[in-house]
């Protein structure tokens, strides 16, 4: 809808189409991802600090709020080191691929009912597919660094992301069976009304199958949350970046802005996976308690409210990710695989079959 507005603004021509497309695709980056990454880094430092009896950054601005801006400026000014024996092309390309992979996922995430990067029918399928590009970028980074730690880290990372995509997909599949749609926008629209209509509570309606679904939806929710944690390499699955073993994993050799790209991608990814979980199970941008805009008859307020709800839900899950990171130790690489292949995938399969049977009712 913002797209239509932009096309009209630029005079409804082929050129206007292109300009509107470019603006629309850059909108999430500048309006959302960059500010969010800055905020998330600050949040992470503050959350970890307060969990550890510290204060965190306090010197730059009020409670150190300017700290991440200062960090980014520092990273921009740093020397861009490329070692002699690096594979230069892959080395330079890797951060771009990793970042574009996680950025592309935002295209199909509906922030409000009127803004979605691209309204495609295969939304969730597209997100899962395009996040797969990140794997290639990570592998490139590890290989091109010509460093054994980077290589080990990237290999672990790839094995981990590829494995954990399976339970994620199985849960997504069960949801597609219930909703009959792959578009996140449609999924979010279906969960309108109150919190009771969210898919974690069995979805809209009030027939028998909804109540039968509730326990299985909770299981599905847990599985997808655990797998997404693993997909973004967060504790207890942060093995690719296991500081105590692999120094920094695949981005050991990177410095300056290229390192910042990985960093940005990581935080963008954290929100992206949270957003997917929210859109699938927790009503997406829908408010759990109805809209103030409906109450006072101001329709223009609804998208703003929806955007706030979506961000709040997303940031809550990002916070949970941080909370886990600063509480739990790290699994070993074989234990990590065991969690995926021995527990999550079988449970997800059984869950899928039962949900399929229930939907037949």
């Amino acid at each position: 809808m913002i797209y239509d507005f932009l096309v009209n603004l630029f005079g409804n021509s082929a050129v206007a189409d292109i300009i509107a497309g470019i603006i629309q695709s850059l909108l999430p980056l500048f309006v959302f991802i960059l500010p969010f990454a800055l905020f998330a880094v600050y949040l992470e430092r503050k959350v970890s600090a307060h969990m550890q009896d510290r204060l965190g950054p306090m010197r730059t601005g009020w409670h150190g709020w300017k700290q991440t801006i200062a960090d980014i400026l520092k990273l921009l000014q740093k020397e861009d080191i490329v070692a002699r024996d690096n594979d230069k092309m892959l080395f330079n390309l890797a951060p771009i691929i990793v970042f574009s992979g996680s950025y592309a996922a935002f295209a199909a995430i509906p922030f409000t009912s009127i803004f979605i990067g691209t309204e495609m029918d295969l939304g969730i399928f597209y997100i899962v597919a395009v996040s797969g590009i990140v794997v290639a970028g990570i592998l490139m980074a590890g290989w091109a660094s010509n460093n054994k730690y980077s290589l080990l880290g990237s290999m672990r990372s790839v094995a981990q992301i590829v494995s954990y995509e399976i339970p994620t997909m199985l849960v997504v599949l069960s949801l597609i069976m219930i909703s009959g749609s792959m578009s996140l926008h449609t999924l979010s629209e279906q969960q309108t009304g109150y919190a009771w209509n969210w898919y974690i509570f069995g979805g809209p309606g009030s027939h028998l199958s909804k109540f039968l679904l509730i326990p299985f939806m909770f299981v599905g929710f847990l599985i997808i949350y655990i797998s997404t944690l693993a997909e973004v390499n967060r504790t207890p699955f942060d093995i690719p970046e296991a500081e105590s073993e692999l120094v920094s994993g695949y981005h050991t050799e990177y410095s300056g802005m290229k390192f910042a790209m990985f960093f940005l991608a990581e935080y963008a990814n954290m929100f992206a996976v949270s957003a997917i979980v929210v859109a699938l199970f927790l009503g997406g941008y829908q408010s759990p308690i109805g809209y103030l805009g409906n109450l006072i008859g101001a329709k223009w307020m609804i998208p703003i409210e929806q955007f706030s709800w979506f961000t709040i839900k997303g940031i809550f899950f990002v916070f949970v990710q941080m909370w886990l990171r600063w509480t739990l130790p790290r699994l070993r690489v074989d234990q990590l695989m065991a969690v995926c292949w021995k527990y999550l995938i079988p449970i997800a399969f059984v869950n899928l079959i039962i949900i399929g049977l229930i939907t037949l009712l």
Binding site: S48, M51, Q52, D53, R54, K148, Y149, L152, T235, P236, D238, I239, A242, E243, S244, E245, V247, W326, T327, L328, P329, R330, L331, R332, V333, D334, Q335
Partner: protein, 382 residues
Amino acid sequence: MSQDSRLNTKRLPLKTEEMVLNMGPQHPSTHGVLRLELALEGEIVTNVIPHIGYLHRCFEKHCEAMTYPQIVPYTDRMDYLAPMGNEFGYAITMEKLLGIELPERVEYIRVIMAELQRISSHLVALGTYGADIGAFTPFLYCFRDREKILSLFEMTCGARLLYNYIWIGGVSHDLHPDFVRKTREFIKEFRPNLKEVNELLSYNRIFIDRTANVGILPIDTAINYGVSGPNLRGSGFKWDIRREDPYSIYHKFNYDIPVGEGTYGTVGDSWDRYFVRVLEMEESCKIIEQALDQLPEGDVQSAIPKRVKPPVGQVYARVENPRGELGYFIISDGSTTPYRVKVRAPSFVSMQVLNDLCKGYMVADVVTILGSIDIVLGEIDR
């Protein structure tokens, strides 16, 4: 190359190569400047060769050029996480050589300091071990408590890390008037904190999965290598110099000697070694409380000799340092400087088992095992 050999290589199955990974000396979890040469088969470790010497400061040779009291500050710098224990060992050795009788108060102060130091050292071991496994928060909790102990030391002698406090025949300063009260307060605060760390780390399922049944050290291997301290006790062998070869006034106190029981795995695994340290901190608290109750009055410097000139002879004495049996062997030629000083450093001995323990485990387990042995490079290299 002839054509034949090329044909041969074509027929060979997929060739795998052993990878040599250099871990350290600038690695976040080698606990200092230790360099490990790991031979890897995939992620499985087939051989570990430790390379030491990056922190070598010629302590033993230095001693030959210094008078006996001048050596005390140098002993601080060996196991820099337990300087009080190092000084204590050196002082005891010299007093044995000189035949000095100590005032009661000095003995008590030394025991209190050594036990406080044991707690602070074990706290570092615990915290860094958690960080090795990936739990960073307990690390800061441990350092918060260690900070309080360092403040107690600072109150006593002005220094926070390298104290130069326990001298031959006495201590450098008497206790601060507030020391007894503040130490009691510390112990009162410390016990619940320790419980908190236990809940956060020791009984965490992931932590147990990572450490139980990893790096099992059987008793006979441990004894063959001469491993001592918490590592030996973690293997289930009740051996503590404070009990077996009592020095100072340790025979006056009641305390237990915790040993590894294989609670979550096999006796002598990493979790056991780790947990022995946790339990030992509680025992140290008990000793400190008893010592504070019995603390006599007196002059702490009356027995300090004006000039240290021991008779010709040699002496060996040992103490139970946080990392194990710390022994000093001193040969005197009758002058004011020692002819030879040899230190038996517990970390140096414990590190020798590393290769035995790590074979067949993964790279991540090398970190786990190395952390559970709890080495200090300052002591290994001296």
